[in-house]
């Protein structure tokens, strides 16, 4: 995953909400830096310079009231404009908004989300993410995956954020600010990236034992590539022909795997764990904890509780070495 961008608000993706926010941040840092230096300088001066009657109420009125009032008034208007822009992902930079936010109604310039905007459901769970693409090209079939989200480059995608257990928070710092996932509610977040890339996100609201190991990847890719990918994700799986893979397939049903996992096209329809239909195509296992290859797959199946203690996946305790390898190989083949 060398192509992964650092999951950082300081490395915002071009065209994303995070980019607007990082420009906003820049304004804030500069302003705060100047104010900080001035106040500290004043404090040192006041302490060490000769006493002077210059220290009067004028300081209080000027420094304590007029200056903050003015600054905060400007800041508030500016940030409200940025906030609206980020919420709707309007194009244009935050600095432009800063220059012309007074006198222009920022709300007016924001186009409503176009009717064709793609919607993706992201459901937070202890401690992983379920991602559902509801509609694929008018077809009603569903693409369900875990811990991974793909976006077409340059198009806003609307995420509907929910949870089935505790509060989580969806945060991909280089794409957008965070939005909580709260039981009983559905929150919305619009994501967009203007360049292809792989981004990392992590749960930002403490959600219990393994909160630290709840990450996900977001991949932005050209529209055509995205379409191909999505179509493949919507496909079902067939029984493998290869003898070794078949052994893996059978091992899957020998164990308790199907109780929790779905593999579309097979009798496995468990709901509580991640959908594994295309698990082999994913970047990570265990919600961004492990890279995905046959070795980590085998290790995760056999030792999930050592890797992520307390998570819902038990250590498998029934497979022979050969079965484990075959199972890992079969799952890895589900691309």
């Amino acid at each position: 995953m060398s192509e992964m961008r650092l999951p950082s608000a300081l490395h915002a993706a071009p065209g994303s909400g995070a980019e607007l926010l990082s420009e906003l941040g820049l304004v804030l840092y500069c302003g705060a830096g100047i104010i900080f230096i001035v106040v500290v300088a004043l404090a040192l001066h006041a302490t060490f310079a000769k006493p002077s009657p210059a220290g009067t109420r004028a300081w209080i009125v000027g420094g304590g009231i007029v200056f903050p009032l003015l600054t905060l008034f400007l800041l508030l208007n500016y940030t409200l404009a940025v906030g609206s822009a980020v919420a709707a992902l309007e194009s244009g930079t935050a600095l432009q908004l800063l220059l012309d936010c007074f006198g222009i109604d920022a709300q007016k310039r924001i186009p409503p989300p176009s009717p064709g905007t793609m919607r993706v459901h992201v459901i937070g769970k202890q401690w992983w993410w379920e991602v559902r693409y509801e509609i694929v090209r008018g077809d009603t079939s569903t693409a369900v995956l875990a811990n991974e989200l793909h976006l077409p480059v340059g198009e806003p995608v609307e995420l509907l954020l929910t949870t089935t257990d505790v509060i989580h928070s969806f945060w991909v710092p280089s794409l957008a600010g965070k939005v909580d996932m709260i039981p009983g509610r559905t929150n919305r977040l619009i994501l967009r990236a203007n360049t292809p890339g792989l981004y990392r996100g992590q749960c930002a609201e403490y959600c219990g034992g393994q909160h630290a190991l709840m990450a996900l990847y977001v991949k932005s890719q050209p529209r055509r590539e995205f379409e191909t990918w999505l179509q493949r994700q919507a496909r079902s799986v067939t029984r493998p022909d290869d003898a070794f893979l078949l052994a893996g397939y059978e091992a899957f049903f020998k164990g308790t795997c199907p109780d929790c996992h779905t593999v579309r096209g097979t009798p496995a329809t468990g709901k509580s764990g991640p959908d594994l239909t295309h698990v082999g195509s994913r970047y990570s296992l265990a919600a961004g904890t492990l890279r995905n290859h046959v070795g980590t797959m085998a290790g995760w199946i056999a030792g999930a509780q050592d890797i992520k203690p307390g998570n819902a996946m038990p250590d498998s305790e029934i497979y022979t070495g050969r079965e484990l390898r075959a199972l890992a190989a079969w799952l890895g083949s589900l691309e």
Binding site: S8, I35, A46, I60, G64, D165, P183, H211
Partner: protein, 834 residues
């Protein structure tokens, strides 16, 4: 300037009698002391102990995070560590230490001999100390809470946090709620009613103003968290679904209630720090604080605005844009009063010749860190920016800058500044400077990198992180900084151990300060209570020290033979009566232990032991109350200046009446929060009451309200009759009657609920209805106890037309309970109007 109120020479034996009355208990009996100087020191010592303990937890965490993928502690222990660190620092260090400092300093600053309710302070301290130790001890038994210090449900509810861990958190908070409310009563009544004659509101030291505001804030800020913790415990213990979405609850209700407390709490912690800085700055610059009125106004304004900020902790919960905008604006607005104070301090420093001693260095350290924390605070108030940094290490950096910079630095400035007040001589300048420098460097080294690592995507509360994310160098720096900071604390504590020797008799004013606490002091406080005519009496009347020490001012000895102080009017501080104060007693300690045992054993579900603790606590409290309100003397006492005062007062002039009113304000705020919870469920749900349930029975509701009216009326009639006849008959009969009607009302309220068919564990609707009912029931029980106590006093001859504070307080509670219960019954039906 006028002559002092009392003439010289003073009678022989006057001083000896004063000393005898205030004689502190010796040896191990010291634990029975209730005097504010002792309790204040115990309290500060305990709070600093928890600072050390919480700090050790922090060092463990920083060691774990120093390198990526570290195995020093596992996830389970780490989650306990950060939960305990936050809870210990906020609830067992920050809030208690500000109350502790107030208990120690306030009487001396006000020219009083003690606070009005010494035993209440002692009780608050013991409940806090024992409870705190038990709470902290859970970490050694692997039952420490692990839900984070703000304990968001549903993670902390019974399903996702089975076991005792979360219950121990609720227990720990329970203690701090008790001691904070007790402290607030003490502080507010103390400030308003025991100031030295002449110390009108506009002559109060800024710190006293800060504490008055903070006392007021505690009264309104703690009730939401009291209610929230009660609801969560009800949910955990009985599965009443307040926060469970699938049964009509809402996890956000917890967040609203918690932050409705949590944000003012930040200012409850910071304002006393600001007040301390105002005092120190003025003294160190040897000039009166520039813009006193502005600063006071700023304190009051901060107190108000702080209640309008809580939602900025919830910007990421997906609330409407308009809401975030409002709270964004309010959050920014709080920068203005803070700015006023900062510039007032700067102007003061500029005007005077600054003494460069350790307190000054700490104040400068405070400027250098708090201002930065304040600025990042403004950033967090910017809603869109908050979406990025919320719940990241940026917030961790911000809050530590604000709390350590804005509160710990002033507290250590205060420790160095007021050490001579306790021990007669300053601490080591050399060690003080080292401590200050190490703390300043450590703080910046530990927390500045956290801004960057937070922006780089590191969320809070993670026990480990990967080495591929670019976070490791910053974390290493932070960890090193944490140890430097700890070394700074270490030097300061060593200095305290080596050089602080509290003594009874202190006559010291090393910084040449202008306020009353620098008068010569002994166990009895000041020799005579000064007549105050300006804001900085020691500067404006240099001879005041000698006059006070010679006994030329008010109340130079003991008039009743008991411990005494002067009660003055709230606004203009005119002497009103001589308050006889209780002496040392084991009862507060016993009551504190009993309370601790009650909650502790309740938490571990050991009901018999719990009940035993409860009985011990109740009996101790009743015994101590029994001793209160000694028989009033018919004569008037000459306190000096030709002023003759009684030793007792009833009705709204009595200090106990004020305490009762404060308590009722707390009570009413809890009730308002409960009503808020009801309305909240109503607004967030599609239909109300949620089908298939109905509203409570109207007839029973009306009957309940009628019954309460009768009950309160009976008490009112008794009150009218009390002044005229012998007390026995008009007290026993009406109170018994009133109690009976209160119980009838409660039963009727229950019957009204039964009509709705909803059980409390079925739906949030049922849960909130039954909580309203339980709250009413709790008051009925309380009235029964208070009524019984009042009757007992009447029978024992401890009540009369003059000696009626117990009755008056019971009566106040009665009216309040009746109104509250009636309102509670009505509010339930409010949705019918819509």
């Amino acid at each position: 300037m006028s002559a002092p109120p009392n003439a010289l020479p003073r009678p022989a034996q006057e001083l000896a009698r004063l000393e005898q009355a205030w004689e502190p208990p010796q040896g191990w009996r010291l634990l029975s002391a209730v005097n504010n100087t002792y309790i204040g020191l115990f309290y500060i010592g305990a709070a600093l102990l928890f600072l050390v303990l919480g700090g050790i937890l922090a060092l463990l965490m920083r060691t774990q995070l120093a390198v990526p993928e570290n195995d020093l502690v596992d996830y389970d222990l780490y989650n306990q560590l950060f939960t305990m660190h936050g809870s210990v620092m906020m609830f067992l260090f920050a809030v208690p230490v500000i109350e502790a400092i107030a208990i120690l300093l306030l009487p001396a600053m006000l020219g009083a001999r003690d606070l009005p309710f010494p035993r209440l302070s002692a009780y608050a301290f013991w409940a806090y100390f024992v409870g705190g130790i038990v709470f902290f001890g859970t970490i050694f038994f692997d039952v420490a809470p692990d839900g984070g210090w703000f304990m968001y449900p549903p993670l902390t509810s019974y399903e996702h946090s089975p076991g005792l861990r979360a219950d121990f958190w609720l227990l720990g908070i329970g203690f701090i709620e008790i001691s904070a409310i007790a402290g607030a009563i003490e502080i507010v009544v103390g400030i308003l009613r025991t100031r030295a004659p002449g110390m009108t509101l506009d002559k109060m030291p800024v710190y006293v103003w800060a504490m008055l505001v903070v006392g007021g804030m505690i009264i309104f800020a703690f009730p939401p968290v009291i209610l929230a913790t009660a609801l969560l415990e009800l949910e955990r213990a009985f599965h009443w679904p307040f926060f469970l979405a699938e049964r009509g609850g809402d996890p956000l209700l917890w967040q609203h209630l918690f932050w409705l407390f949590g944000h003012p709490d930040v200012y409850i912690i910071f304002l006393p720090g600001a007040g301390l800085v105002s005092m120190i700055v003025a003294t160190m610059a040897r000039t009166p604080l520039v813009g006193y009125e502005w600063v006071v106004l700023a304190l009051v304004a901060t107190g108000f605005i702080s209640f309008a900020l809580w939602v900025h902790h919830m910007f990421a919960t997906g609330m409407p844009h308009l809401t975030t905008s409002f709270f964004s604006a309010a959050s920014m607005a709080v920068a203005i009063p803070t700015g006023i104070q900062v510039f007032a301090w700067l102007a003061t420093l500029r005007r005077g010749q600054v003494q460069k001693a350790t307190p000054t260095w700490f104040v400068l350290g405070f400027f250098g860190t708090f201002v930065l924390g304040g600025l990042t605070g403004v950033m967090l108030a910017v809603a869109p920016y908050d979406w990025q940094v919320h719940d990241s290490y940026f917030v961790v950096a911000h809050l530590h800058y604000v709390l350590i910079g804005g509160m710990v630095f002033p507290v250590f400035a205060a420790i160095y500044y007021w050490a001579p007040f306790v021990s007669g001589k300053p601490l080591s300048e050399r060690m003080g400077k080292w401590a200050c420098a190490l703390m300043f460097i450590g703080l910046n080294l530990a927390f500045f990198p956290m801004h960057i690592v937070g922006l780089s995507g590191m969320p809070r509360r993670v026990w480990t992180y990967s080495d591929t994310l670019g976070w490791e160098q910053w974390n290493m720096l932070s960890s090193v900084g944490a140890f430097v900071l700890a070394a700074g604390f270490g030097v300061a504590f060593l200095d305290l151990l080596l050089h602080l020797r509290p003594k009874g008799k202190v006559d010291s004013n090393p910084w040449d300060a202008g306020t009353l606490e620098w008068l010569p002091l002994d166990n009895y406080g000041v020799r005579s209570i000064p007549h105050v005519t300006s804001r900085d009496p020691l500067w404006d009347r240099p001879q005041l020290r000698e006059e006070v020490e010679r006994g030329e001012h008010f109340l130079p000895g003991t008039l009743t033979g008991d411990r005494e102080t002067l009660v003055t009017s709230a606004i203009d501080a005119r002497p009103q009566y001589v308050l006889r104060l209780p002496g040392p007693s084991w009862l507060p300690l016993l009551a504190g232990l009993g309370t601790a045992a009650f909650f502790l054993f309740l938490t571990v579900k050991s009901l018999v032991a719990s009940a035993l603790g409860g009985v011990i606590a109740l009996v101790s409290i009743f015994m101590w109350l029994w001793q209160s309100e000694p028989a009033p003397s018919a004569r008037l006492y000459d306190v000096g200046g030709g002023i003759k005062l009684p030793d007792h007062m009833t009705g709204s002039r009595s200090h106990s009446w004020w305490a009762m009113v404060v308590l009722l304000l707390v009570d009413a705020t809890i009730f308002s929060c409960l009503v808020f919870a009801y309305c909240y469920f109503w607004t967030v749900s599609a239909a109300w009451p949620p089908p298939p349930f109905g509203f409570p029975d109207v007839t029973a509701t009306v009957a309940c309200i009628a019954s309460w009216t009768v009950s309160a009326t009976v008490l009112f009639l008794a009150h009218r009759a009390f002044g005229r006849s012998a007390p026995r008959v008009p007290l026993i009969v009406p109170i018994a009657l009133g109690t009976a009607f209160a119980w009838i009302a409660f039963v009727l309220a229950f019957r009204a609920l039964a009509q709705t068919d909803v059980r409390p564990d079925q739906h949030a609707y049922g849960a909130v209805l039954y909580t309203l009912l339980s709250w009413q029931g709790l008051h009925v029980v309380l009235l029964t106890l208070m009524g019984g106590y009042t009757i007992a006093r009447a029978i024992a001859g401890r009540a009369s037309a003059m000696r009626r504070n117990a009755f008056d307080n019971t009566r106040l509670m009665w009216y309040y309970a009746a109104v509250q219960s009636a309102l509670g019954c009505l509010v339930v039906h409010a949705p019918r109007m819509m």
